[in-house]
């Protein structure tokens, strides 16, 4: 039997309702079951004191090692600021066509940019980023469709321009069409 579900692996506290929303959106997006789990590891080890951020490359490997074969994909959910050595920050990243991905809430809130916080907007952005990174684990590249979730977003308001859904091409590339009732 091949694995049929996607695992959301939280690192640190996540609001239950948010998690439920993410799980539902992922389930709908990929037409599969979603399982939520908590990772109980000390993030201190991945903290870079000079940059005051957490190493996204190493955390991606951690998620890879925590991925279990009963799951199709595992995505680590973070609320800390992630970086990789060559970039000042990342919203998330994933092994292209692999099993693991990471996504962080940290830079998705308006308050970081001097605007009034909008929790719902922040959650919406997070859902899009989670689906986006999972899309990469299914081998999807960036898409030029303006509303497709696989469109790349280099800064936060770019995320608002896209939807949390795949465009027809990306959807077809996922090969899930068969899963939809005829």
């Amino acid at each position: 039997m091949s694995a049929q579900h996607i695992t959301l692996l939280t690192f640190g506290f996540f609001d239950k309702n948010l998690l439920k929303e993410v799980a539902e959106a992922v389930a709908l997006g990929f037409r599969c079951e979603v399982v939520c789990k908590e990772a109980r590891i000390d993030l201190g080890e991945y903290f870079n004191a000079g940059r005051r951020q957490y190493n996204g490359d190493r955390l991606l490997s951690v998620v890879g090692t925590l991925h279990l074969p009963d799951s199709m994909k595992t995505i680590g959910l973070f609320s800390v600021d992630l970086y990789i050595p060559i970039l000042t920050y990342i919203f998330g990243q994933a092994h292209l066509g692999g099993e693991a991905g990471v996504a962080s809430m940290f830079r998705l809130g308006n308050e970081l940019y001097g605007l009034a916080p909008e929790l719902l907007l922040q959650n919406e952005r997070f859902i899009k980023e989670v689906i986006h990174e999972l899309g990469h684990t299914f081998g999807l590249l960036h898409c030029y469709d303006v509303s497709c979730v696989m469109r790349s977003s280099a800064y936060v308001e770019d995320i608002d321009q896209k939807e949390k859904y795949f465009c027809a091409n990306c959807y077809a590339a996922l090969g899930f069409i068969g899963a939809v009732a005829k």
């Binding site: 050595p85 990342i90 001097g114 719902l120 919406e124 280099a154 308001e157 027809a168």
Partner: protein
Amino acid sequence: MEKKISILVVDDEESVRDSLNIWFTEDGYRVRCAENATKALSLLESDSFDIILADIKMPGMDGLEMLRRVKSMNKDAIFIVMTAFATVDTAVKALKDGAFDYITKPFDPDDLSHLIRNATKQITLVHENDTLKRRVDSLDNVEDLIGKSESIKKVLREVESVAPTNSSVIITGESGTGKELIARAIHTNSLRKFYPLVSVHCGALTESLLESELFGHEKGAFTGALYNRKGRFEMADSGTIFLDEIATISQKMQIELLRVLETKSFMRVGGNKEITSDFRVICATNKDLKSLVENGTFREDLYYRLNVMNIHVPPLRERLDDIPLLVEYFIKKYCTSMNKPLVTMEAAAMKRLLEYPFPGNIRELENMIERAIVVGNGKKIKVSDLPLGKDIIETNLESLDDFERVFILQILNKYSWNISRSASALKVDRVTLYNKIKKYGLKPVK
């Protein structure tokens, strides 16, 4: 098929090579990596690359020497140097030696994509004429523009002719006719399609919010501004900016907008640096701008600058032929997204639709079909499944608050809880909407 743009990354650090390899691959580029200049040069003997991205400081031959050698083989090569903060001076020297640009490590993700876009722009300029010729006879990505009526075909022909130009376009038409889809079609069929299409719903924002939204602000511009924020004009660099409900902007913003359109440059709020941006502007309105010009509420000079081309989207009642196709399209869309088997529509129900005037146009039809799929029996859409304009009135509402709550919820559901879009549809700002959601304890329901 368009040829993939190729990038060669040269860096002695493995993590840098790996990260950039992933980054560019995900963006659809063809990527090769080399750990030193010698290996890179030997790769260049057998393979050609559109862009070379090389670290300045590498053991053995350094990036500057490599640049000189590459340039002596091909003076048009696009060579970008990567540098650590400490070696910016050297980077400046590289520019003098013909480097396209330099970027300081670690990169801001946005700077990186910007830089690569600029480089690809340079490359695509060369192929521009070719591409133009190929594009004109077929429109891409217009699946959402459904219809076979003469009036929609006329719109598509207009889209086809304006898309490849750089002209400003005003899209007019009643609410719900799909003006944003037309803007999208123009963008995706223009040479700017690989760059952002940035939408601003002008009607949803107050004057000061609109200013910060359009022009951005600098870190520290006001309390709480911890990070710089880009404005929409800056985001739209090399792409298209879509200004919806253009007739709603204040006189002051009209003046500012005119200035930006004339100079293609502006300053962020709280900033003192002139920022330039190469954008195309598309506007939409459901008002008669010409008469607003005549009564003095809309500036004439701005009107002429924006109205180089005009595309008028007909209301749904003038394209009845398209209703069956649209119905089929929305049934497919919503059954698929709700994971339900496809339903059909009873002939009697279709007949009723064809007689209905659709004051809310396609948007109203879409909502109707979505609702019918939710409430229907899962096989056939019947007349009784169609609200035909009575949606809110028929439900049991006792107070104005009730009415507001139901209405806001409908709009939120319609836009899948996309706050910006819902706010814009409700003609309130996002903060107001957020407060209403809190006030009524609204939650997305499945």
